[in-house]
Symmetry: C2
Subunit: 524 residues, 2 copies
């Protein structure tokens, strides 16, 4: 394994500082050393992406579909290496890595299917009328077109599905945009294997080499240089609120501001209504425990706040959940930095006079100083509403129970929420009678409303929304998962009175692609 | 006519400074005085919009359609007053104002039709599967929902179609978002009449009063306070690049950044290819003259740059166009400030050593110091490419001819362009053979490509794109005109495993609205 950046089909020269991956479970330093990209490498990757864009954006959709499927194939053929290296670098179990690899390839396949079907650019045709008075009506036709090279930042918590060939890359490449990826320091080796797979697919499908590059280096230097580069036209990011906001600010201050799609922080509130708590409190406690501790709590949809009605049922629920949390085995988090942040979050909450710690299995850090256990806190709505620190995300397997006295207090809790990826309700049919206000208020806070379930586990499909109002994401109008993610990297372009032979195929009068189009206001 | 701001069905108290409209043709100061809104007025309007949003966003589409049609009706019933006051305030002729009023009402009608048809929120349903392995598949359903109260800034150059009840307001109200309008100082009286019409429609349709407010005052104080207000969730603006960028920067720096849809500056390049110039140079010169001088050049789609092949045909073309420009009568611009900026632009260009002034009818400012005539400049591609000032917009009836020597130079010209609303090509079928590179490069610069026509005159329909890469607009992914404008004010929300009776009607299994939906990946 060679430790230099991937630039447009070639590799960067060795230069600058080096970084290496660490096994979070053991603390072992993993070979090889990876060379940080230089600012010249950033420039070369972005210019190559711009050159590639000129041909890649005009390729038939079928060619791009083949390319996406080839990437999936190349990744699958490297599954053993990915899973082995992934376990060393991230401490994630084999089954999770295999599942995430399958998900990553399925995601590439979803976009390939959309391209093969062909209607995704939403062609709209409005025929002209030369006899219209007082002036003739022109012929107008529009479709969605790619916006240009995209900078993609890998996520710490998904070495595959939100990293080198993850959702941002897949949707950008599908839309017709080259990508320049910034690898994450927590899984450099996995990044290199996947970048090698994409590079092989570029060659296999005879794509312009600049369609894919990947840089190693720090977010502060290489990442920011990437976002500032004039050839970059959009940014995809999954990570911390501070990191995402920094990129948003840099992008907004460019001479030409560009969109940033940052998926940042979410505490994913769970609202338990009285009927549901009474009927199946124990089963909700078990389900919640599974959701909070899944993947050592390192999911953006991890539920960090639970609103439940005060009383005997809540006490029983809390006791059940506390027992489950106490019994949760410690596991390595993705790296020692995430583990330190988790400890700090827990300690800060402990210092607050407003919460009780009901349970913890947190303790031994392990040889890699990265192991973490589960922690359960409890407080009252009154205390919660007076301490805004309690609404902050603790990234890891911890959650906070908040007991409310009545519907009015529940409304206050919900109205106080910042933007979220998800909001969940546990309710019986009776609970939901005359609770329109509650559901309407929850809708304002979140991108996805979950009923009688748990927010972790994000489906990749046509209807999914994985987005939400700020600060859950930078741009609540979009989703980073599913079919609609592609539209983040497009803009509409119209052709007026264009000769038929010069139109994109999707807009030609004879509909040679046989796709679904809007014609004179009617979809057909 | 009363001169105070409109706040949620009532009127603001008299306070602060006053402003008044001026007849640009005569300089006459027009009664009444208008009171500038206070920051407390801004706050009251925004809070009322937030309250209104809670019910307005959940109304059936049909109710909102009725409301939009009622606004159109109320405006139509005030046509005489609007047109009379409009002529006094803007110097625009009666026919233009009547046409613009009709366009404004048609625009409201277009969005009403979309709401009546009902499929606009793009419902997507993906059925669950309890038997899926390894975990059950949830039921997921999503639609577009409104994002919240919108601040709308009126445009100087469209007192109706891009002002109080213009495209931004119509599309925001259609999407389910209340609006708070900032009136433009150039047409305060028209703004008051239209605000009165909307207020009457709010009462007529029993809408929540906060769904509409309108503030008088300066952009620097009231406008900026509006964009900073936490209840405002998006901004619509049509105006200068400096003004738009200021709002973009303010919105991006908010604790909760919000989208700004600013339509700013565009020089709308026209490319004339050799065959077309030879075959119909005279007719193109006439058409171009009409487009440059339409509405005293005060359109955002006004063509400010014309690329044409050097040679005898170009000289003949320039001479024809020069004669037409010389003969153009002077007319009042919208206000003396726009007129001064036009003079400054012309003088700066004259001072440049790189251009020749071929023709002018500019001279007498008139009693209102607002009259302007046409000006024609010419330069070469070499000179143009060395002086980036020549690519700047001069808002008014002026244009610049740039002669190119060959295709390579034409490519350089096109590659040098900033983002544009439109780009136009005059070409024969022969001209377009083997000119894919040119068309592909033009596509990158613009939102709308016009063939053998002129960019002024923007259709309001299903396929139109009135947007373009920065700095033409703040957000090239969107259009401010036509059906797609509505989506600027929406975000997707998903419901997971939601009981059918709690779903929005658009997503209920029985499809009670009978609308077009995507079901398990198929639009039906």
């Amino acid at each position: 394994m060679q430790g230099t950046s991937f630039i447009a089909g070639g590799r960067a020269k060795e230069s600058g500082g080096t970084v290496h991956a660490v096994n979070p479970a053991t603390g072992e330093v993993l070979a090889p050393e990876f060379c940080e990209a230089s600012t010249d490498d950033v420039h070369r990757a972005c210019e190559a992406a711009w050159v590639a864009f000129q041909s890649y954006r005009l390729l038939p959709d079928a060619r791009r579909a083949t390319f996406l499927r080839a990437i999936a194939g190349q990744i699958e053929s490297r599954q053993e290496a990915v899973v082995q290296r992934g376990q060393q670098e991230t401490g994630l179990p084999e089954a999770r890595l295999k599942g995430e690899l399958a998900r990553t390839c399925n995601q590439l396949g979803l976009f390939a299917s959309l391209l093969e079907e062909g209607s995704w650019p939403q062609p709209r045709i409005e025929h002209g009328d030369p006899d219209r008075k007082p002036i003739p009506k022109p012929d107008l036709r529009s479709i969605k077109r790619p916006i240009g090279p995209v900078a993609v930042f890998c996520a710490s918590n998904f070495p595959l599905a939100f990293s080198v060939a993850g959702g941002d890359t897949a949707s950008a490449l599908a839309a017709g945009c080259p990508v320049v990826v910034k690898a994450h320091h927590a899984h450099l080796g996995v990044a290199a294997i996947v970048a090698d797979a994409i590079t092989a697919a570029v060659a296999e499908c005879d794509m312009p080499p600049g369609v894919f590059s990947m840089l190693f280096g720090s977010g502060r230097t290489i990442g920011q240089a990437l976002v500032r580069h004039p050839r970059i036209k959009a940014v995809g990011f999954t990570g911390s609120r501070a990191g995402g906001r920094t990129l948003m600010d840099i992008a907004a201050a460019r001479p030409e501001p560009i969109p940033v799609y940052a998926e940042m922080s979410s505490v994913n509130p769970i609202v338990i209504l009285p009927g549901a708590l009474g009927e199946r409190g124990e089963s909700i406690a078990k389900g919640l425990h599974g959701s909070v501790t899944l993947g050592v709590g390192q999911f953006c949809t991890n539920p960090g706040l639970v609103f439940l009605p005060a009383g005997a049922a809540a006490e029983k629920f809390a006791a059940t959940l506390a027992r489950l949390m106490e019994d949760t085995p410690t596991c390595p988090m993705l790296h020692s930095g995430i583990r330190s942040a988790y400890s700090e979050g827990i300690q800060q909450r402990e210092r607050s006079g407003n919460v009780k710690k009901l349970a913890t299995s947190d303790g031994d850090l392990g040889a890699g100083r990265s192991h973490a256990g589960a922690v359960l806190f409890q407080t009252t709505a009154d205390a919660y509403l007076q301490d805004e620190q309690l609404a902050a995300e603790i990234f890891g397997p911890a959650t906070l129970l908040i007991t409310y006295e009545d519907d009015k207090q529940l409304d206050q809790l919900v109205d106080s929420l910042e933007g979220q990826l998800t909001a969940t309700v546990h309710a019986t049919a009776d609970d939901l009678q005359n609770r329109q206000r509650l559901l309407a208020a929850l809708e304002l806070t979140a991108g996805r409303l979950v009923f009688n379930g748990y927010p972790t586990g994000v489906e990749v499909n046509h209807a999914i929304v994985h987005g939400g109002p700020y600060p859950a994401t930078s741009d609540g109008r979009t989703t980073s998962v599913g079919e609609m993610a592609m539209y983040r990297f497009t803009r509409a372009v119209a052709w007026q009175d264009c000769p038929d032979d010069q139109l994109p195929d999707a807009l030609k009068e004879s509909n040679p692609l046989g796709i679904r189009r809007q014609v004179d206001g009617q979809w057909q």
